[in-house]
């Protein structure tokens, strides 16, 4: 009953024979549209002729074919009433022409307009209809009005059920070639009613899947779908559509849907795929052109079959419909302020700024990730539903497509590219996605090292929260893989943790400036955050100690010191009330390292620690600081021990006597005597230190010439000062700032010690 009524009403709405009535502006737009399209076809033909210059015979054949096609179209345009196939030679002749041209060169939009209506009007028998439909390969685009007209014929129901199915399949295949879709969206309800038809249902579902926008998801439609599902059982096509509805409006669909089903829809495009490829190749004149390239239309993905779900790994492209052809038209159409601005047309930043109040997100949230403009937009809107959609989509894809440990099918390159895209988007937004964090927590225990750079990149964007289970979920498994991995892996893990700390600190500095901590989005207390940060630093300290134990590599040491370069400046640079010193397992390897680069680095770090500690002390004295400091006297004590050890080593030649750190290099003089090393006292000063000895030798060579036997012991007194200047000139900036800050140079080594204690009095006063 309902169907009958619908058919009649739709017939009344748009009579297929008549042109639907348009507004004036619309009509002119159409005209312009047509003209522009003419340009395109012209372009194609010129291209073609250029290609075929040497084949004049071909040209002639083509010309005659063109005439034949025109005749055929004229014939088909004039067909009236029911026509028999039997014995109708003219019909057969024209049908053959159309088929030949259609499958080889594609049909022009006008031709498709005529033939499609004809095929659905039921004037011919079914075999002719299906033959016609099968050869309807567009050479450029399909006009929207053609489709609307065809849909009205389809609703009238003059044709048989099999033709109807074929038509919907054709529609699914050509979906991306339809130039605009506003009117199709208006017909959404019409298509929805056809879900009742058992034969059409799977294809209609697929078509609706392609057509659905957020506005199309209505409670009554969801109810209808659920009713249908109860009646016919859990069909994959229904579930596919429901899943899409759930993506758009999670609050309307509370049903648990299987996410494991990979193919919701039957393949509809198989009938036309090969021909479309040939037509495309021919029109572009290049045999290598695949599905991805097309006729001057900006990146129209032709794989409509998989577009929305199955090939999620290929990030959906937000410009799914717009062609250069219709751009001007559309921009004139969208002058009305209240209408939404489709994101497909968003090309420049100015456009974004001008239309920011009426932007509409694309049907496929994933496409946002690739468009910097949309990321800008996401950054400044406060709509939770956007993040909900993005998160829902991403969590799904990450779990389905990227979780290597679930044994699902993945394509390595795609996963890599996808993870890279997410990481880039996070980099752009300067913010981690929560589902990425969850994904990492889930997958890192199973991680053996695949997608190393991608996973580590994601790792560095884990947001700063007072999350107590970090230890169990992240540090423990990460430590496990860290210890059993290669040197380069270790370096990149440390690097990634450094970035993570940096992100945390920048985030903290930003919010500490802006709002009081209580209002911060994470809704956590400062002490919680401080604990999280110090947990991370302690974790890195622990793993680096062991890593340096296992492989004493200067490369690794370099990465570890890079990490501590961030740590030492936390208080001054990032307003984080926390100072954590490196463990002895990191400090001493760096102090006794063989490379001047690492030694220099360490000197710089110790200098920055001094700055931070002094600043912290001053703030405590003046009580300016609102934040309670977490720096204990133990930290000051340890720092002083480190500095004493360093000065003893590098400057005062008392390496083994002056070290009071429990894990330091203090050694009894008797033991040292027994080693039989002469002058062990000065073996780590700036002249004899293995990292600096090369400089000392060069310095002497430059001073005395090469012939004289080198005696490093000569460097003392005035020469010592020159040597220090020489080191500064060789780029030892860290050493310079360290010596200048921690050692008062009145040429006496005893004095330097007294100056050192200057950093201690604060502790003593406590």
């Amino acid at each position: 009953m309902g169907k009958q009524k619908l058919r009649r009403s739709s017939q009344r709405l748009i009579k297929p024979e008549q042109q639907p009535s348009y507004g004036k502006g619309d009509l002119s737009a159409r005209l312009r549209n047509g003209k522009e399209r003419g340009d395109i076809t012209e372009k194609i033909t010129t291209q073609k002729t250029h290609q075929d210059k040497c084949h004049s015979a071909d040209d002639q054949a083509e010309a005659s074919e063109h005439d034949l096609l025109e005749q055929a179209l004229q014939y088909f345009g004039k067909v009236e009433g029911h026509v028999q196939l039997k014995g109708n030679d003219t019909l057969l002749k024209h049908l053959n022409t159309v088929e030949r041209v259609g499958t080889q060169r594609g049909l022009p939009p006008e031709g498709i307009d005529i033939l499609l209506s004809l095929a659905l009007s039921g004037k011919f028998v079914d075999t002719v209809n299906s033959r016609l439909l099968k050869c309807l390969i567009p050479s450029s685009v399909v006009l929207e009005d053609t489709v609307v007209k065809a849909v009205s014929w389809f609703c009238v129901g003059q044709c048989t059920a099999s033709t109807q199915v074929l038509f919907i399949r054709w529609l699914i295949t050509m979906f991306d070639l339809i130039d605009r879709k506003e009117k199709l969206h208006a017909l959404y309800g019409c298509f929805f009613c056809f879900l009742q038809d058992e034969r059409l249902c799977p294809y209609i579902c697929h078509f609706l899947y392609l057509l659905t926008k957020k506005e199309s998801v209505k409670p009554f439609r969801v109810r209808k779908l659920l009713d249908l599902q109860i009646r016919v059982g859990k069909q994959p096509h229904l579930q596919g559509l429901l899943l899409l509805y759930k993506v758009y409006c999670p609050e309307l669909v509370s049903l648990a849907l299987p996410t494991r089903v990979k193919t919701f829809f039957k393949n509809s495009e198989s009938l036309w795929k090969a021909q479309m490829m040939t037509v495309r190749r021919k029109n572009l004149g290049s045999p290598s052109v695949g599905l991805q390239v097309d006729f001057g239309i900006k990146q129209v993905p032709l794989q409509s079959k998989k577009r929305k779900w199955n090939s999620l790994m290929n990030l959906p492209i937000s410009s799914s419909t717009v062609s250069i052809v219709s751009q001007k038209v559309v921009s004139s159409l969208y002058l009305h302020q209240d209408e939404a601005f489709p994101v497909e047309q968003l090309q420049t930043f100015t456009q974004l700024v001008q239309n920011i109040h009426r932007l509409e997100f694309p049907a496929q949230m994933g496409s946002v990730l690739q468009s910097p403009l949309l990321l800008h937009y996401i950054n400044c809107i406060k709509d939770d539903s956007v993040f909900l959609r993005l998160n829902y989509w991403m969590a799904q894809v990450l779990h389905e497509e990227c979780a290597w440990y679930t044994g699902n099918q993945h394509n390595e390159m795609e996963v890599r590219a996808f993870l890279d895209t997410i990481a880039n988007a996070q980099q752009f937004l300067q913010e981690g996605f929560s589902n990425c964090e969850e994904f990492l927590y889930k997958s890192i225990p199973h991680w053996n090292g695949c997608y190393r750079s991608q996973i580590l990149q994601l790792l560095s964007w884990i947001p700063l929260t007072a999350f107590s289970e970090m230890e169990q979920l992240l540090y423990e498994p990460l430590g496990q893989i860290f210890f059993t991995s290669s040197l380069y892996f270790k370096c990149s893990v440390i690097e990634s943790l450094k970035k993570m700390l940096q992100n945390w600190l920048s985030w903290h500095a930003f919010y500490a400036d802006q709002v009081s901590i209580q209002d911060s989005p994470m809704n956590t207390t400062l002490s919680g955050l401080v604990n999280t940060v110090s947990d991370l630093i302690n974790f890195v300290g622990r793993i680096s100690t062991i890593a340096l134990h296992i492989t004493s590599s200067s490369l690794l040491l370099h990465f570890i010191l890079d990490f501590y370069e961030i740590v030492c400046d936390m208080y001054v640079k990032y307003a984080m009330p926390l100072v954590v010193l490196p463990p002895a397992g990191v400090f001493y390897p760096a102090l006794l390292s063989m490379e001047s680069v690492n030694l220099n680095h360490l000197c710089y770090i110790m200098y920055r620690y001094r700055k931070n500690l002094v600043a912290a002390k001053e703030n405590e004295w003046t009580k300016k600081c609102k934040l309670r400091l977490n720096i204990s006297s133990k930290t000051f004590q340890e720092y002083n021990q480190y500095v004493l050890a360093m000065v003893g080593c590098l400057w005062t030649s008392q390496a083994f006597q002056k070290d009071s750190h429990p894990q330091g290099i203090f050694m009894d003089a008797k033991v040292l005597m027994r080693t039989g090393v002469e002058n062990y006292r000065n073996s780590f000063n700036i002249v004899h230190h293995p990292a600096l000895m090369g400089h000392a030798v060069l310095f002497l060579q430059q001073g005395f010439g090469e012939e004289k036997t080198l005696n490093l012991g000569l460097i003392k007194g005035k020469l010592w000062n020159w040597y220090v200047e020489y080191l500064y000139k060789r780029g030892m900036h860290g050493l310079k700032v360290f010596i200048e800050s921690s050692i008062r140079r009145i040429s006496s080594s005893a004095q330097s010690h007294s100056s050192l204690s200057e950093s201690c009095p604060s502790v003593a006063q406590k």
């Binding site: 979780a403 290597w404 440990y405 679930t406 044994g407 699902n408 099918q409 993945h410 394509n411 390595e412 225990p445 199973h446 053996n448 090292g449 695949c450 230890e471 169990q472 540090y475 423990e476 430590g479 496990q480 893989i481 210890f483 059993t484 991995s485 290669s486 622990r542 062991i546 134990h549 296992i550 492989t551």
Partner: protein, 240 residues
Amino acid sequence: MSVLKPFDKMPVLNMATVLFVGTDESCMEQLAEAMMKESKTFDVKIHLAKSLPLPAEKDHLRPRIDLIVFLINLQSQLSFTTVVSSLSHVDASFFLGKVCFLATGGGQMKHTIVEMPTVKKLADSYLSILLFSELNNLAVFCKIKGTPFPSHLSNASEIICSTHSHSPHAQKALFCSFLIWVEEDGAVQQAVSEESERDCCHTAQRLLQMLCVCAGHVPGVSALYLSSMMRRAGPISEAM
């Protein structure tokens, strides 16, 4: 009943020996091959055993074993019980860092029979670390694909996965025909095998690093030290 001891034999210069114990031979072979392919600075000897104890008659030929890896296929109860019963034939001093559990097939939640917490508990109670890996096996393949095995290959999976009654050549032939069947589904399937192969390589690298420490090739770091560091967070936090 002989008990496997870690220090009853002298080590061989620049050599490390690993013993794989598990019912899933294809997995072990795959892993062993991957380990052999990796570049390394010392000789690696790999022994495979379905269960412990090892036969006593060839004991004098066997080198000192530096690391025992127990493979547990989470999709088979047999592999778990075999490992549990084998554990009693391992000397207690092995558990000072020279034992490692490797759980495979855990990703396919639907098909796991042995539960993850059970395995974790086992590893914890033996103070040993637990690794996860997706080793490639055909059984997993078929389950992924969700379609019945083609008839002419109906027993291929069994043959390749479990019994090894065929010669290596026959196995290869079967596997090739299997790949051809897979080929129909295109490159995606090929990617699966590549992926698990990659995961296998990464697992092999990790095991080699551990072996290097366990065999005493890293000065200053003992197996006990490493394993206690690796397991530091887990049991302590649980105890607290």
